[in-house]
């Protein structure tokens, strides 16, 4: 079988949907965070695939930016989750109920 652009795009779309599903369905902040990373990496995969099949390296440069930003996001995000855990001994979204009407 010849692997073409659409195969990459289908995989990337699946990864994106799985990531989004994880964010929506799972209740643990760490798992939600993993879902978020999956969404970003799905975009990376399609960028690299487009880049390869359009013979335009701009997409791969964009991937570097996304990886960098994702790393910054994880650094800040995990620090926040640790700070929350210290305060509440929990990392579940059901316990984030201080702010209400």
């Amino acid at each position: 079988m010849n692997v073409g652009l659409q195969h990459y795009l289908i995989v990337s779309g699946l990864l994106f949907s799985l990531g989004l599903l994880g964010v929506v369905v799972r209740r643990n902040l760490l798992v939600i965070f993993m879902g978020l990373e999956l969404m970003l990496n799905a975009a990376n995969l399609s960028l690299v695939a487009f880049s390869r099949y359009n013979a335009n390296l701009d997409g791969q440069v964009m991937v570097f930016f996304i990886i960098t930003v994702a790393a910054a996001e994880v650094a800040v995000g995990l620090a926040l989750i640790v700070a929350l855990y210290r305060k509440r001994q929990t990392a579940h979204v059901e316990d984030l109920t201080t702010l209400k009407l």
């Binding site: 795009l9 990337s12 994106f16 990531g19 989004l20 964010v23 902040l29 939600i32 965070f33 978020l36 969404m39 970003l40 799905a42 975009a43 990376n44 399609s46 960028l47 695939a49 487009f50 880049s51 359009n54 335009n56 701009d58 997409g59 440069v61 964009m62 930016f65 996304i66 930003v69 910054a72 996001e73 800040v76 995000g77 926040l80 989750i81 700070a83 929350l84 305060k87 509440r88 984030l96 201080t98 702010l99 009407l101």
Partner: protein, 492 residues
């Protein structure tokens, strides 16, 4: 071609932020107050220069990803003003923040850099990176009071929803890149006709709009705003309310009017639904609010809806109205939050009922807060009134071609009427609130006085003499022949 003179302001803002971090190492803890005033003074100098001699020359740079035009300059001035006032109000709020004050000032400067880049973004990569610089900085700023569970919760909610929005946006950029084979606004604009039929491109564009919709807190991506506004430290909320929202709007305006005007015109029904939903949601949910910062959150959603009116109109007068209204919004919201910070030490909690007696405790602060809310409610002669008139007029001009605009105008007018109720609830509490907990006078610091004088001056002056700002805003949205020609050349 890398012309570093284009990014002078950005470089200097980074230096101010790093300087705040460095200077903190050498000064005693007792001089922290001076550090805040020093940072504010540095930003004030930048602001003065940005309006004058340091104003960057118009031009494109960095492989056409960065553009300096009147639109960019207009927003850069307001971003600098916003950061200046936010640093000033932080000085009074400092006891509540506790440790890490210099980091707070530095982060405000770094968020400012993100906004300055966003004002000049001419490429989807630049758009993404500048937005992320703003968003990641705000994750930290929103949860800065580590000891307060509400602040941490606000930070985490902003983190999760913000990251989802950037996930959508990145995927959208990937699809746009795949179909247009470029991320440059100029190239995309020149190939609009063929791209308008590409489903991949349209899907990508829609996902990018989702990301921007999150930033401006537009329906249906507004869910984060009330919680985050309520939980975050007041100066962070203030910067989020003006800076982050304005950055979203400058990108939206640039994308819609310069990159994909034809496609956006076809999508106006979508934008109408978005604007009407945003106004309706913000106004209706604000009605029962008892918490001042949460009320500001809903008010900010409603205001995003009014601003979208100008985007929906898809005309020069619409864009002018967006710019003018945002300018007024900066002064108004910053004035309100400066007062909130100034009374944070003296008034327990953020409940509107706790404002009781403020009229006697500090007539100056009470008057300033009242003027801000009167302007937000859109009462003449304040700036908010004229801004809303301009936005509604812009939509009305386009209504002949699009009957759905009449419905939108009706929703907006109902929203304005509802807003009278909840804004005046605050003013009633200030002057006629029952059972004040204390009647001890509240003294105001010099920084607060300067910030409030600037904001109130702006609100009243722009309301009385709107033409001064209107002329600049109008010039900023005119299609520039020089930039257009450069973009055209870049496209080929």
């Amino acid at each position: 071609m890398n012309d570093y003179s284009l990014i002078t302001l950005e470089i200097l803002a980074v230096i101010v932020g790093l300087g705040a971090l460095m200077v903190d190492l050498w000064i005693p803890a007792s001089a922290r107050r001076a550090l805040g005033y020093g940072t504010a003074a540095a930003l004030g100098c930048l602001l003065a220069f940005a309006a004058g001699s340091l104003s960057p020359q118009a031009g494109l740079g960095f492989h056409n990803t960065f553009v300096v035009d009147d639109l960019a300059r207009y927003f850069k001035t307001f971003f600098l003003f916003g950061a200046f006032v936010v640093v000033l109000m932080t000085v009074d709020f400092a006891p509540k923040i506790g440790s890490g004050l210099s980091e707070f000032y530095a982060l405000v400067c770094f968020a400012l850099v993100g906004m300055l880049f966003a004002a000049s973004a001419n490429d989807l990569v630049m758009l993404f990176v500048s937005l992320e610089l703003i968003t990641v900085t705000f994750y930290v700023l929103n949860s800065f009071q580590r000891g307060r569970i509400a602040s941490l919760e606000a930070g985490i909610k902003y983190l999760i929803l913000g990251a989802v929005a950037s996930g959508f946006m990145v995927f959208g950029i990937a699809l746009v890149f795949g179909s247009a084979n470029s991320t440059n606004f100029g190239v995309i604009a020149s190939r609009q006709a063929e791209l308008a039929h590409s489903t991949v491109f349209l899907t990508g564009l829609l996902l990018v709009l989702v990301g921007l919709g999150f930033k401006i807190a537009a329906f249906p991506f507004q869910a984060w705003a009330p919680d985050v506004y309520q939980g975050s430290p007041a100066p962070a909320t203030a910067f989020l309310a003006v800076g982050s929202k304005a950055a979203g709007f400058v990108l939206l305006v640039r994308l819609v009017t310069q990159a994909v005007p034809q496609i956006a015109a076809e999508w106006n029904r979508l934008l109408v639904v978005m604007a009407a939903g945003t106004i309706a949601y913000g106004s209706l949910c604000a009605l029962p609010q008892r918490n001042l910062k949460r009320l500001m959150g809903y008010s900010s959603i409603a205001n995003a809806g009014y601003l979208l009116l100008g985007v929906v109109a898809m005309s020069t007068s619409g864009s002018t109205a967006v710019l003018y209204y945002l300018g007024g919004y900066f002064f108004t919201v910053l004035a309100a939050f400066t007062v909130i910070c100034a009374i944070a030490e003296h008034v327990e909690g953020d409940d509107i009922a706790n404002l009781a007696g403020l009229g006697q405790r500090s007539p100056f602060l009470a008057a300033a807060l009242s003027i801000a809310f009167v302007s937000l409610a859109g009462i003449p002669p304040m700036v908010g009134f004229f801004g809303k008139v301009l936005l509604l007029r812009a939509v009305f001009e386009g209504a002949a071609a699009h009957p759905s605009f009449y419905l939108l105008i009706a929703v907006a007018v109902v929203g304005v009427v509802l807003s009278l109720y909840y804004y005046f609830g605050v003013i009633r509490s200030i002057y006629w609130g029952a059972n004040p907990s204390s009647l001890a006078p509240i003294s105001t610091s010099l920084g607060t006085k300067v910030a409030l004088a600037a904001c109130i001056g702006g609100i009243v002056f722009l309301g009385v003499a709107p033409s001064s700002l209107l002329k600049i805003a109008d010039q900023a949205v005119q299609p520039k022949s020089a930039t257009a020609a450069a973009q055209h050349a870049a496209a080929h």
